[in-house]
């Protein structure tokens, strides 16, 4: 049975929080891209670098993560969240996903984070 957009988002969030980088990367189309404050990241190899940075510096083991809102409409997903661990506080983050054939074709991300 086809996954819903929200299921895809939640599975991706779980993989990111567990540091399952290859699983998180597999959630993207081969030609996916991510747009963030730091630039545009095209293809799985570049997106892997984001996942590695997130795992090493943002959502490290033991991070408290809270989803504020999650919505979807058609093939668009939207999630707001925040997180905290010993070395960083993500005060606010919002992601938008464009889903195609069960995978993330586009993600945009905005984040407000403060090192501790």
């Amino acid at each position: 049975m086809e996954k819903t957009v929200e299921q895809i988002m939640l599975e991706h969030t779980e993989a990111c929080l567990k540091g399952n980088i290859e699983e998180a990367v597999s959630h993207y189309c081969e030609d996916a891209f991510v747009v963030s404050q730091n630039g545009v990241f095209r293809g799985r190899d570049e997106i892997r670098k984001i996942m590695v940075n997130m795992a090493e510096n943002v959502v490290t083991p033991g991070t408290k993560h809270e989803i504020l809102h999650i919505y979807s409409e058609g093939n668009i997903g939207y999630g707001e969240w925040r997180a905290e661990n010993d070395h960083i506080a993500v005060l606010y983050a919002v992601d938008t996903f464009v889903i195609r054939d069960g995978k993330i074709a586009v993600q945009t991300a905005g984040i407000v984070a403060k090192p501790k």
């Binding site: 891209f33 747009v35 404050q37 630039g39 545009v40 095209r42 504020l68 809102h69 919505y71 409409e73 058609g74 668009i76 939207y78 707001e80 005060l91 606010y92 919002v94 938008t96 464009v98 586009v106 945009t108 905005g110 407000v112």
Partner: protein, 116 residues
């Protein structure tokens, strides 16, 4: 000549700040929808009410807005902006746009709002 995605994003922002509701609405169609922290806004009537309320009650003359960053990739637009007024400050906000045939099909929005 067709507008670029960045031109559409910048014009949307300028039209909203100028309080030009008709110009804002001209960039949407009946299939357009928006996702905000408050939920999903679908169709021209609901979007008109949303932007009318934004112009009347949020972007009052005391509020100054500033686009920090505008980027695009394919048909995706992305903006980071901030605002400050007498009643609130928005130290961080981000909008994502999905553009098709010179129209905003999808807009998502997230922000940090601090009341004064």
């Amino acid at each position: 000549m067709a507008r670029t995605v960045e031109q559409i994003v910048e014009q949307h922002s300028a039209n909203l700040v100028a309080g030009n509701l008709e110009a804002v609405m001209a960039d949407f169609c009946e299939e357009s929808f928006m996702i905000t922290p408050q939920g999903i806004i679908k169709g021209l009537d609901a979007l008109r009410k949303h932007f009318d309320d934004t112009i009347k009650y949020v972007l009052t003359p005391d509020v100054k807005t500033e686009n920090i960053l505008v980027r695009s990739e394919g048909n995706i637009g992305y903006v980071i902006w901030k605002a400050d007024g007498d009643r609130f400050s928005i130290p961080f906000a981000t909008d994502t746009f999905v553009i098709e045939n010179d129209k905003i099909m999808v807009q998502t929005f997230g922000s940090v709002v601090n009341k004064k």
